[in-house]
Point group: C2
Chain length 125, copies 2
């Protein structure tokens, strides 16, 4: 297992950027601790540490929209990773958009540019 | 100015993903505080908070390899941004690679897959 520089993060969490392996669109960013890192590498499915729930989080455990990790990149400082994934269900964002980054800064406003794939009310019951 | 959710980060820093606006390659990740955010929006050049130096950091201030911000995306929680940039000099990484993510996890090893653009010894004197 490749060792990441978890000591560098004050809270033991490192950012993981999730990128669509086909389109290169950035889908989301979440945080990993050592357990999430190991689980991701071992299972090939993206795992994170949920800061709001304070527990290990298999992305898609509720929605079924798991992320199949096809490639992992590590940065120069070994304190950030990129997961290149196949997004099951086509949407990474809990609001139903393909990407969490579905809004663009336009002067004083945020303009929605993302594609809505599912209705959250129907997926998270 | 769009307000980000700086209150969510314990240390007042939010991650900013830097992506090449033409190729969509993820070039680096760095952190912004409110000042770096304001300076980036105001000047169109990527600014971050340097955690190692404890000061505002205009990316490229030493190397000349500034990042011209062409588009900014904001995530659903307003606690992460993507800067889509034109990378002056063609390389974002202080080790001379186009991207800081120049290595891929291959089993127990990290394989260099990135392109080296410059010799750091010649740029950082």
């Amino acid at each position: 297992m490749i060792e990441l520089n978890f000591a560098k993060a004050r809270d033991g969490l490192l950012p993981a950027i999730v990128q669509d392996c086909r389109t290169s669109e950035v889908l989301m960013l979440a945080y990993i601790n050592e357990e999430a890192w190991c689980q991701t590498v071992a299972t090939g499915k993206a795992h994170f540490w949920s800061r709001s729930r304070g527990k290990l989080w298999l992305k898609g455990e509720t929605s079924g929209h798991v992320q199949l990790v096809r490639e992992i990149l590590v940065d120069c400082d070994q304190d950030t990773v990129v997961f290149k994934v196949e997004q099951v269900g086509g949407a990474a964002c809990h609001e139903g958009y393909r990407s969490c980054f579905f809004r663009r800064v336009s002067g004083q406003d945020l303009t929605v540019i993302g594609e809505k794939i599912f209705d959250p009310a129907k997926v998270y019951k």
